[in-house]
Amino acid sequence: MATKKFMYLNRRSSFGTVYAIESLEVVLIAAAFEQDVSLAFMDDGVYQIVEGQNTDGIGMKNFSKTFHALGDYDINKLYVSKESLEERGLSESDLMPLVYEDEDDDWAEKSSVKVVTNEELKAIMSEQDVCLSF
């Protein structure tokens, strides 16, 4: 089967709508098909991977923990819009330390998160075969 480049674009915050959790579910299912998968976070979507989320007060599953499993699913390209972070007073240090182990580099632990400008993100998007927006 030919490999296609899939990008999942996340533009909404974690809770309040089902978009974020549905996107993550689709990503995990897609991972089973061994495609080239990347995720992008822009607008309120950047809140999805902010460190220290707590859902105790809203009675929902804290699925932010699941992002830590993505490395094991060979999903290690998480692009975050620099402008979207800045507009919300956030920086890379506010995000969860999401990592993967590089098979080709003696399983060294590397960061999956890459902060990019919207201009760079546009270029990455144009390389994709499929782009799904949530």
Binding site: L28, I29, A31, A32, F63, D72
Partner: protein, 107 residues
């Protein structure tokens, strides 16, 4: 709805409320599947429960195999070993025994 040891299960036998899980339920599920649980089964079941606690998902078989190899060694982290313990699939059957939901991406 069907019940096991007083706990509700769905049409595929997975616990409806994950908090209901206890060892008696697990043993009863295994008995219904004609599987006798050994220390080796419990090793995988404990692993699955820890994995769920940490990541909030039931791992796909491929990921489970890799993760077990890392934590428990290559002699256990392979599908032959895992299928010998859980003939209906370490993901599907193992997760059910462990009280987890059906693995995401289980196809």
């Amino acid at each position: 709805m069907a019940q096991i040891c007083g706990a509700e299960v769905d049409e595929e036998g997975f616990l409806v409320d994950l908090k209901d899980w206890n060892k008696d339920i697990c043993i009863q599920m295994a008995k219904d599947d004609e599987v006798e649980l050994t220390e080796e089964h419990w090793g995988v079941i404990d692993f699955l429960r820890d994995y769920f606690e940490e990541y909030q998902i039931a791992p796909a078989v491929r990921v489970l195999t890799k993760a077990i190899a890392k934590k428990m060694g290559k002699d256990k982290g392979n599908s032959k070993y895992l299928y010998s313990l859980f003939p209906y699939g370490p993901g599907k059957q193992g997760c059910r025994f462990a009280g987890l939901p059906k693995p995401t991406g289980c196809i």
